[in-house]
């Protein structure tokens, strides 16, 4: 087997039982790896109705066939589980160096089951797997955890861990690796915490086999050339990081401000990528096998702090969404999220929700928009589980519901929306609504075409054709997440580039259309998992504000999201019912026979 390592590791924390089994050809060729492989395992192994924070839930770490091969942007891994925040199937992926080192241990995936009796961490060195006590590190933040685990294992080991937030099963907690990179969304950190698992340390010596080295070199060169020629990947991201988008999105009036009450933030430039570069940047940082290097090592001299970030989503969520223009405070909030192990999008957005509730008189004594120190204090309270932090720790939807105003939560399926107001980017509205994991910009990054002109510029206000393009991008994205490559590669690379790399590595005759079909298969299986848990059209929606209330100013004013017509077309093109559930025949065509059988049985009854 070239590309894949050919085996899957399973650890039952209840019984402290470690086992392995081969990766089947069906798994590798129909689902690739990463997200796809995790979804396949979870659908097959997780019964309906499992509480995400119970020992019965599974937490899967997975690399892909391109991980560790040196293919451009291939330093990533995926975490797949059932989310405690959304109740949906969920995958979250992360860069840095952990993913490559995990693959080098010789495993394609790690399935974690049960719950350790006491706080533990895993030390995986090639075939050797050790479950160790985490007594010494329980309670530590992610930075200290990584340092201690490495001191107890190997200096070269790579560590993915949870912070205090994950330990306390905060629903918006993340898993952090390499101190500054996170599988951030959906509360995957809480699932790890629910298993009493503090960290996973990996160190491996197995290089993935590449079937055709000469062809791989040629394919990688062409892909790197594409990256070096695309304006986004050659200039914008390297020079200004992801926050280069702040001014761009603000100019089109789609930078969600004051919890999506506005789409234009007057002080956007104060928190932009340009200002980050000018004021706090120390150097650029790259993940494994990446030439884009969008990461920012930064400093806040006034607070005597160093870290990485903030990223676009953080400067948006703690900045514009909260009406805060203080870059140092935003950066501090971002550092704290990494240290506590919190999802910066959901944390910032939940604080913004609290601010709106407070200003509307629904949350007496709560924070107010524009209060820079409040965002820093609230992150600490959430991370420490103190005061109002305990309410915010459950995410914006539960917070807003508790105070009687769910409409103040800017979320889909309970997952907080990222920093693109779909009233100004209609395709993003459909992408958010139909995302299988809740509001996510990365399932189908329609902003790329609708705003940035990649691969070409399409009208951001029109709805024509958006269903079809959303589906294409969702399918391609699912395939990329299963390779596992960074989604920024997609600005420059096309499906043929990915297929050529995969063919060279695996010696399996994948063509671009095969990759798109694999993505479609993964998307449908995720959707069937969610349908099994009761999700349908009702959940494929957007916050009422986006459907009914136009933005008051800026270059996207007087428009709402025309979701229903796009959604009808989307379901039709997907081959799903009008309730958003895949039909048995659609699933059979995608070779998802078990899923097809399940759907046929359920709806026959």
């Amino acid at each position: 087997m070239h590309g894949w390592m050919g085996k899957i590791l399973r650890i039952d924390l209840n019984k402290k039982k470690i086992s392995s089994r081969p990766l089947t050809n069906e798994q590798s060729e129909l689902f690739l790896g990463g997200r796809g492989l995790g979804v396949e395992i979870l659908f097959r192994e997780l019964p309906r109705g499992v509480n995400p924070l119970s020992p019965e839930n599974k937490l899967i770490f997975a690399a892909g066939p391109l991980t560790g091969t040196g293919a451009p942007t291939s330093g990533r891994y995926s975490v797949i589980t059932r989310s405690p925040l959304t109740g949906t199937i969920f995958d979250s992926n992360s860069g840095g160096h952990f993913g490559v080192q995990f693959k080098r241990t010789g495993w394609d995936a790690l399935i974690i089951e049960g719950r350790a009796e006491k706080p533990s961490y895993l030390w995986i060195r090639d075939n050797s797997v050790d479950i160790r006590s985490a007594d010494r590190i329980w309670g530590s933040n992610t930075h200290a955890t990584e340092d201690i685990v490495r001191s107890e294992t190997e200096k070269e080991a790579k560590v993915a861990c949870i912070g205090p937030a994950g330990e306390r099963q905060v629903l918006i907690s993340s898993i952090v690796n390499d101190k500054h990179r996170a599988a951030g969304r959906g509360g995957v950190g809480a699932v790890m915490g629910s298993k009493n698992l503090k960290a996973i340390a990996v160190l491996g010596s197995h290089e993935p086999s590449i079937a055709n080295r000469e062809e791989f070199t040629a394919a990688a060169r062409i892909s790197l050339e594409a990256i070096s020629k695309n304006p986004v990947t050659k200039d914008a991201l390297p020079n200004y990081g992801t926050a280069v988008l702040v001014n761009v999105i603000n100019e089109i009036g789609a930078l969600p401000t004051m919890n999506f009450q506005r789409g234009y933030f007057e002080d956007a430039d104060a928190i932009s990528g340009e200002t980050i570069r000018e004021r706090i940047l120390e150097k650029r940082v790259a993940c494994d096998a990446c030439t884009i290097a969008c990461g920012r090592a930064t400093k806040i001299p006034a607070r005597d702090r160093h870290g990485e970030g903030p990223e676009y989503e953080t400067v948006w969520s703690f900045g514009a969404a909260c009406g805060v223009r203080d870059l140092e405070a935003v950066a501090e909030a971002h550092y704290l999220c990494n240290e506590y192990g919190l999802d910066a999008i959901s944390t910032g957005s939940t604080i913004a929700c609290a601010m709106e509730l407070s200003e509307a008189g629904h949350l007496p004594g709560g924070p107010r928009f524009g209060d820079a120190e409040a965002i820093v204090d609230l992150v600490r309270l959430i991370g420490d589980g103190a005061g109002i932090g305990n309410e915010l720790a459950e995410g914006s939807l539960r917070l807003a519901e508790r105070h009687g105003h769910p409409e103040c939560s800017m979320s889909v399926k309970g997952l907080e929306m990222p920093g693109y107001d779909p009233r100004g980017i209609q395709g993003m509205g459909l992408a958010y609504a139909t995302s299988n994991r809740g509001a996510c910009h990365l399932r189908a990054y329609m902003t790329s075409a609708e705003v940035l002109g990649n691969p070409c510029l399409i009208d951001r206000f029109k709805t024509d054709g958006k269903a079809s393009l959303t589906i294409l991008l969702q399918n391609v994205s699912a395939a990329i997440d299963s390779l596992v490559l960074c989604r920024f590669s997609q600005f420059a690379m096309n499906p043929d580039h990915y297929a050529r790399l995969l063919r060279a590595v695996t010696n399996v005759s994948f063509m671009a259309r095969d990759l798109i079909s694999i993505g479609e298969r993964i998307y449908n299986l995720e959707r069937t998992f969610n349908a099994r848990e009761g999700f349908g059209r009702g959940e494929d929606s957007l916050p009422r504000r986006l459907l009914e209330t136009p933005l008051p100013e800026g270059h996207s004013k007087n428009i709402t999201v025309a979701l229903d017509p796009m959604l009808d077309e989307y379901y039709r093109l997907r081959g799903w019912t009008s309730n958003g559930v895949p039909t048995a025949s659609t699933l059979s065509e995608l070779k998802l026979y078990d899923a097809s059988k399940h759907i046929a049985e359920k709806y026959a009854v």
Partner: protein, 306 residues
């Protein structure tokens, strides 16, 4: 100008990456460019099968030697009188000879825009005299090109429709092989409306080159629709794309294969030169704005953000 989505699909379905690459002049005309960049431009053109590399005349010898050392079939287009076109005819002629001696296989010259405009605004003998000056300016370059195709850059952003038509006719009379929209340094790049006008004006033995602001496959396909919408015109001697984004265009073209929905009909104003008049001379701008006011699609302008 409206371009129905079905028409774009029909163009796209006829294209493949290799064919489009063969229509591209891979361009690098910035003043601060270094030798390393020229060589990598040549490498890229060779790998992707672009028609030519398009360079300032200073770099022709370097590119020629380098491409020869690779036994490459990529041609070299040298710009002449670039980017303003306001050099003497003699200096353009000399620059052409020099470029040809150094290995240029094609010449992209800039027309004398000011004289051209005087030609269309003057009358009688004065107009005829100006016409001769413009024709001789182009003719001198054609002569010194010694059989190499000469593309004449009209810089359409400075011209009214009438002036574009007249410019095309003069170029045809002077023996040019192509008429070309823009330098990339002028007030606007290649717009389908200009390209169609040029294509409709010149004889089929002449080619049309779109240059300036073409960055992705959709823009490229719009240009092809406007200026090369038949198999007999979709050839390197009848149509070219001048761009520094050739690799992006070819790479992005792959996406077109996997979904038709990229080709939704564009708001007409977005691809209309009358919407981008801010850098034009006032008297030209006035003509464009007047045209806009009488356009059947004028209603779109009321919604500024389209």
């Amino acid at each position: 100008m409206r371009i129905p989505s079905q028409s774009l699909r029909e163009v796209a379905v006829r294209l493949d990456e290799e064919q489009v690459a063969g229509l591209i002049d891979h361009t690098e005309l910035k003043p601060h460019v270094l030798k390393k960049k020229i060589r990598s431009l040549c490498d890229e053109a060779d790998i992707h099968g672009f028609a030519t590399v398009c360079l300032n005349s200073w770099w022709v010898r370097e590119a020629s030697q380098y491409l020869k050392s690779k036994s490459s079939r990529v041609g070299i287009a040298s710009v002449v009188g670039f980017p303003l076109g306001q050099m003497s005819t003699e200096s353009k002629a000399f620059e052409t000879s020099d470029a040809i001696v150094n290995g240029a296989t094609e010449i992209d010259m800039v027309i004398n825009v000011g004289t051209l405009r005087e030609m269309t605004t003057a009358s009688g003998d004065e107009s005829r005299r100006m016409r001769e000056l413009v024709r001789d300016d182009v003719g001198a370059v054609v002569k010194k090109a010694d059989g190499a195709p000469v593309k004449v850059i009209l810089e359409t952003g400075y011209l009214t429709d009438r002036e574009i038509v007249e410019a095309c006719r003069v170029c045809e009379e002077a023996g040019a092989a192509f008429v070309k929209t823009s330098t990339g340094f002028g007030p606007m790049g290649a717009y389908p409306a200009h390209l169609k006008l040029m294509r409709d004006t010149v004889d089929d033995r002449l080619g049309v080159k779109a240059a300036g602001g073409v960055t992705n496959f959709l823009e490229a396909i719009r240009c092809i629709y406007a200026a090369a919408n038949s198999p007999s015109l979709l050839r390197p001697d009848k149509f070219r794309l001048g761009t520094s984004n050739g690799i992006n265009i070819v790479n992005s073209l792959s996406w077109a294969k996997y979904d038709d929905s990229w080709f939704v009909e564009e708001v007409p104003c977005k691809i209309c030169p009358s919407n981008y008049v801010s850098k034009q001379p006032l008297e030209v701008q006035t003509v464009y704005v007047r045209k806009c006011r009488t356009c059947p699609d004028n209603a779109y302008r009321k919604f500024k953000d389209f």
